[in-house]
């Protein structure tokens, strides 16, 4: 049971990192960036190609994919979302779906639908063993807990990002500008904040984080296909809503809870696809507390 819990937290950490991108963009631009999940996929492919074809070391490849995704995030924002800043939310959402589809199909043309096997970049690090565990020849474990390096590193990276982002939004000038824009765009403009630049920065940070999430996700689930990002993207959105969209700790909490629910559901009821439980959670949360666990209640103004 404890193993499931730890695996759940690890999967949830990936969701949480993706959810951060959603929640930041939603908080500031008030739009649902449907293409966020596909940025993860691009990040996965970018690091896969540099590592496998060019033989780059993993750290450099991750850095490269972050750069690629950051640029991608900014370009998408400039080309597709910025012209629609004053349009209806329906128009923006359809555009975002269009961008998501564009990225998936472009990836399909470039890398084909054959799954690429992502290398295990943490293979050299031994797993953490708690207690006295014995691993039999067929892979089954008895006694103690074995936590793989990937699981552990995912959780640690998640905590680091969480702390870093909290400090960033509360201490730096840029972070404060972001919070100001999300509170009131008009007032922020009057205070001399460059709203367009701030929104671009938000997309940049969200997409950079998506690249990290992409690498972590692909290390844990090594089959890389053009639709790799779609489901985790949607689930991360569920996580963001679960925790309260617009709230950074909320995204973290929502992501981890969702990961744990998914893994435990998969273990307890293996015959039913675990996605059902994930989406059921979303529906229940939206019905009971639409603002999410840590979200602020927004009053509707006439």
């Amino acid at each position: 049971m404890l193993t499931y819990l730890i695996n759940g937290i690890s999967l949830g950490s990936v969701y949480a990192i993706i959810a951060l991108g959603y929640t930041m963009v939603y908080g500031i631009a008030k739009m649902l960036n449907f293409a966020h999940g596909d940025v993860i996929m691009v990040g996965g492919y970018a690091s896969f190609c540099t590592m496998t074809y060019l033989g780059w070391p993993p750290a450099l490849a991750v850095l490269f994919s972050m750069v690629v995704c950051t640029i991608l995030g900014i370009v998408v924002e400039r080309l597709a979302y910025k012209p629609l800043r004053n349009a209806t939310s329906l128009a923006v959402l359809i555009t975002a779906i269009g961008v998501s589809y564009f990225l998936q199909n472009a990836a399909l043309l470039i890398w084909t639908s054959n799954p690429k096997v992502f290398p295990d970049i943490f293979a050299s690090i031994p797993p953490l063993v708690i207690g006295h565990a014995e691993v039999a020849a067929d892979g089954t474990q008895s006694g103690g807990i074995v936590i793989s390096a990937t699981t552990l590193i995912t959780i640690l990276v998640n905590i680091a990002i969480m702390v870093g982002l909290t400090l960033f939004t509360s201490k730096t000038k840029m972070g404060k500008a972001m919070r100001a824009v999300s509170e009131d765009k008009g007032a922020a403009t009057l205070m001399g904040i460059n709203v367009d630049f701030t929104i671009s920065m938000t997309f940049a940070i969200g997409s950079g984080l998506a690249a990290i999430a992409g690498v972590l996700l692909c290390t844990a689930y090594p089959n890389l296909v053009p639709t790799t990002g779609a489901m985790p993207g949607i689930k991360a959105f569920v996580a963001a809503v679960f925790g309260g969209i617009g709230s950074i700790p909320g995204a973290m909490l929502g992501g981890i809870l969702l990961g744990v629910i998914e893994i435990i559901a998969r273990a307890l009821v293996p015959s039913v696809p675990s996605d059902i439980f994930v989406f059921a959670v979303l529906i229940i949360v939206l019905l009971v507390k639409p603002s999410g666990l840590l979200g602020k209640q927004i009053r509707e103004k006439v």
């Binding site: 012209p83 555009t95 779609a230 949607i234 015959s271 996605d275």
Partner: protein
């Protein structure tokens, strides 16, 4: 006096549009019926006729939600799949109880009877699903609603993945356990339904499409339709005017899902095999592309877009790889252009004559 004249004129405009759509559908039927009976139409295109009609129904029904009610639904294919598999089950049940089943291919009357029963059952079950899903979903707005409809679409697909239906001597059985299958398998989890008798007829599809158009267009031009559009344009103002928001939203949503179910049944009974994966998120998006490209809220546009975009890829086989990529670009460009101030001004200039007329009407 002037007011009376104006409303009369407007009414006639609405019904003119409605008759234009019936005309388009009938012309479409006549052209393709003639083409296929004279043998000009290739076999692959002939096989596309019923799917085209199904997609037209899907586009019209989704347009009711997206265009008229103003809510983005991303799970429309889910209703289609409910209708499809309901239709398949109904067909199997009737055939297993009917002594005439052996001569089905020669018995056109029986075929039509089963087809109608399947379509009606598909519409009813999908409509019931629409009510069940609509109750929680329609309490939400905008992005949340879109995501929850997507979630429901996925849930329906996943449930069908682990649903096994079979008929034995004691009747129809539903099960979540693949090992319990016995007798005649109707639905085999992820493998879908594999032994459907193909009974869909192009003419029947056209009749269904006309019925759907009658329902949707009369709903849109009725008092309820105007209420639905008022809610779309300004929810708060509509609520303040005493409109029951949930009731009208529900009306649009349930009608739309029932019609999607009918389209699903028509679609499924055109194939011998149908899998739940056919009705995934991609299909929902495809139908959304029809609606967006045809012009959100415009039924004629939705009909034409659905027909062209279903037939065109069939004719441009080499182009297949780029199809979805082009759809994505089209989706983005249509959205960017229709929301661009300069394009709006340009279009206004283009239709200047019409616009000044409308303005004059408003002044009057």
């Amino acid at each position: 006096m002037a007011e009376e004249k104006m409303t009369k004129k407007k009414m006639s405009k609405a019904s003119k549009n409605a008759f234009l759509n019936y005309g388009i559908v009938l012309a479409f039927f006549v052209i393709f019926q003639v083409l296929s009976s004279t043998g000009i139409l290739s076999n692959s295109l002939k096989g596309q006729l019923i799917p085209v009609v199904s997609y037209m129904i899907m586009a019209v029904s989704l347009n009711l939600v997206v265009g008229i009610s103003g809510e983005l639904s991303l799970g429309h294919a889910g209703f289609m799949s409910i209708g499809a598999f309901t239709g398949v089950v109904v067909e199997a049940v009737i055939l297993s109880n009917s002594p005439a089943a052996a001569t089905l291919s020669k018995n056109l009357g029986l075929q039509i009877l089963i087809l109608v029963a399947s379509i009606v059952a598909g519409a009813i079950i999908a409509g019931v699903a629409g009510v069940l899903i609509g109750i929680p979903v329609l309490r939400l707005n905008g992005d949340y609603l879109a995501i929850v409809t997507l979630a429901f679409g996925e849930i329906i697909k996943n449930l069908l993945y682990c649903l096994y239906i079979y008929i034995d001597d004691t009747g129809l059985h539903f099960s979540l356990d693949p090992t319990s299958l016995a007798g005649t398998t109707v639905l085999n989890g992820p493998m879908g339904a594999t032994s459907i008798k193909k009974i869909s007829i192009f003419a029947a599809g056209i009749v269904l499409l006309l019925v759907v158009l009658v329902i949707v267009q009369n709903l849109v031009n009725s008092r309820s339709g105007r209420a639905i559009m008022a809610i779309r344009d300004n929810r708060i103002a509509a609520e303040a005017s005493g409109l029951h928001i949930t009731k009208y939203k529900m009306m649009a949503f349930v009608t739309s899902s029932a019609l999607a179910g009918a389209a699903g049944a028509l679609y499924a009974l055109n194939y011998s095999t149908i899998v739940p994966k056919k009705f995934d998120f991609n299909t929902s998006i495809l139908i959304l592309v029809f609606v967006v490209l045809g012009g959100i809220g415009n039924m004629t546009g939705a009909l034409i877009a659905a027909a062209v975009l279903t037939v065109l890829p069939e004719m441009l086989r080499d182009f297949q790889d780029y199809r979805m990529l082009v759809y994505a670009i089209v989706l983005i460009l249509v959205m960017l252009l229709t929301n661009n101030e300069r394009v709006k001004v340009f279009l206004a200039g283009l239709f200047n004559k019409k616009k000044s007329k409308d303005d004059a009407k408003e002044v009057a």
